[in-house]
Subunit: 162 residues, 2 copies
Amino acid sequence: MKISQKGLYALQAMMMLARHYNQGAIRIRDIAYEEELPEKFLELILLELKNARLVESVRGAKGGYQLRRPPSEIRLSEVIRLIDGPLAPFGDAEQLRSLIDRDAEHRALYQVFLDVRNAAAKILESTSIADIANPSPKPRQRRGKKTQPGVLPMLVQNASRN
Amino acid sequence: MKISQKGLYALQAMMMLARHYNQGAIRIRDIAYEEELPEKFLELILLELKNARLVESVRGAKGGYQLRRPPSEIRLSEVIRLIDGPLAPFGDAEQLRSLIDRDAEHRALYQVFLDVRNAAAKILESTSIADIANPSPKPRQRRGKKTQPGVLPMLVQNASRN
DNA sequence: CTAGAAGTCTATTAATTAAATAGACTTTAT
DNA sequence: ATAAAGTCTATTTAATTAATAGACTTCTAG
């Protein structure tokens, strides 16, 4: 799997929306400005994220984008698969399994590819947007108990990253 | 990291040469035929493998290619890095480390990318060409003690694949 | 010692993908 | 009604990928 510039932009946009979760719709312009992304390109990316129902839009004046689910319930793998395709380094998991079954000569090679994809999937499916979006850009007006940044309610935690 | 068609061809060629290790130089044509690879394209790939000193060539009549080291001492990561570049899903390990140091906003994201590249590196650096090349295509004229296919003298063995 | 077999090198091409950019259109708050 | 904002379609440019072509060099065998 290769993460393109576009894929990186998508992840950055999602992180920004996570930081502003529950603050209403955020304009494309503001996302682009805060993350320093090309505005017109970002527009297309957000459309894709919307069609995949990861974000939702509000049209018209006062419109913008927001996450459709809490950041802790959006996995990095969802965003990456959408924008950059399968996590496998070659083909996709299904293809690889089929090749392992049918191509005796190269079975072991494809099995290695599948191992690599499984290792990547394990990480990217157990890391959420909340895990990587720093709580708030301006660390002001934080009332209530400080939520620890990396807490993942439903996903397995990778201890090595804390 | 994405493995291209070219990268797959390179790995297949290396596997074929591994099967014919210690049988002298093998002609491009024979590699292409046995692995069903486009001959002219394979030629360019072998040139690259030669420049990287993974294989060596014999020119002129009776010429061809052979591995420069025993198959058990050639890691998949060497071939993949040569043909398809860094193992990281974005940029390379050095860049990622630098971004983790300098870009506080996106540190955690780049750390995940680095985790993914480390997981891939672990697998691909501990698997050798010998591990994946089936011993010999025609199981004929095998004199001496049968060498077990997957034995890796210097590399850590991944038990799950045997 | 020369003919042919084989690798070497450079260039070109066609197709695809990546990364934008442009502009007209639609929806909605005020 | 107007302006702000998302939507949609098309176009462009550059890079990459996957190959193909052909002239050149080296070496072995006869």
